[in-house]
């Protein structure tokens, strides 16, 4: 069963690139890696998803090495509004139940 580990917190400054890494040593063949962003008093919001190599969308990039035992969410040029908790999710619910594993979340604080 995949267990995900993320740093508890990170600090950054406006305009910097932020990289948040998630470790998932026991990732299964069918598992995807998904990242979510959560602001206080709101539900998490989808950022990006990938299976291997690199995925990029309008807000972030996701880097996944060949062994898929870790993944890195990259946020280019962060702003104050990127201050939030970021969760890594590993799993695929097309398997039998109980295989969706969220990390404990990384609290990102962006300072002016």
């Amino acid at each position: 069963l995949a267990k995900t580990t993320q740093p508890i917190s990170m600090d950054s400054y406006e305009g910097q690139e932020v990289n948040i890494t998630c470790s998932h040593n026991n990732i299964a063949t069918n598992d995807y890696i998904t990242w979510y962003q959560q602001f206080p008093s709101q539900g998490p919001r989808f950022i990006i998803q990938g299976y291997k190599t690199k995925v990029t969308n309008e807000v972030a990039s996701l880097f996944i090495p060949a062994d898929r035992k870790s993944s890195t969410l990259s946020l280019p040029r962060v702003s104050l509004s990127d201050t939030a908790v970021y969760y890594c999710l590993v799993g695929s619910f097309y398997n039998q139940g109980g295989k969706l594993i969220f990390g404990q979340g990384t609290e990102l604080s962006v300072k002016p």
Binding site: P44, R45, F46, Q49, F93
Partner: protein
């Protein structure tokens, strides 16, 4: 725009009460989920459903049950609420692309 709504934002119940949390999605999604979120523990999956009347246990199903009689609605039931079920409860839905859309959450306090 996908919308997932939850019946209450805040709820206070007494120990032993039966509690119903309701979730409705408007995107005709096949899959629906219930999570609880606790400080330091992140989100933990309680149950999910991939079709009407179908359900699968997640990581922490003990003390909970679910019901999905209609595609758009997924209910979480606490048969006999206990203080250790005080938590934030989040509902989510998804289609075939694995992207989950979350509701705003229900903060349940059991006294």
């Amino acid at each position: 725009d996908v919308k997932v709504t939850q019946s209450s934002r805040y709820l206070v119940k007494r120990t032993g009460e039966k509690v119903f949390l309701e979730c409705v999605q408007d995107m005709d999604h096949e899959n629906m989920f219930w999570y609880r979120q606790d400080p330091g523990l992140g989100l933990r999956l309680i149950y999910f459903s991939y079709d009407v009347k179908m359900k699968e246990k997640g990581d922490i199903p003990e003390g909970y049950s679910v019901s999905r009689e209609k595609k758009e609605r997924f209910s979480l039931i606490l048969e006999s609420a206990s203080t250790n079920q005080t938590s934030m409860y989040l509902c989510a839905s998804s289609g075939t692309n694995n992207e989950q859309y979350f509701g705003p959450g229900t903060r349940l306090t059991v006294t």
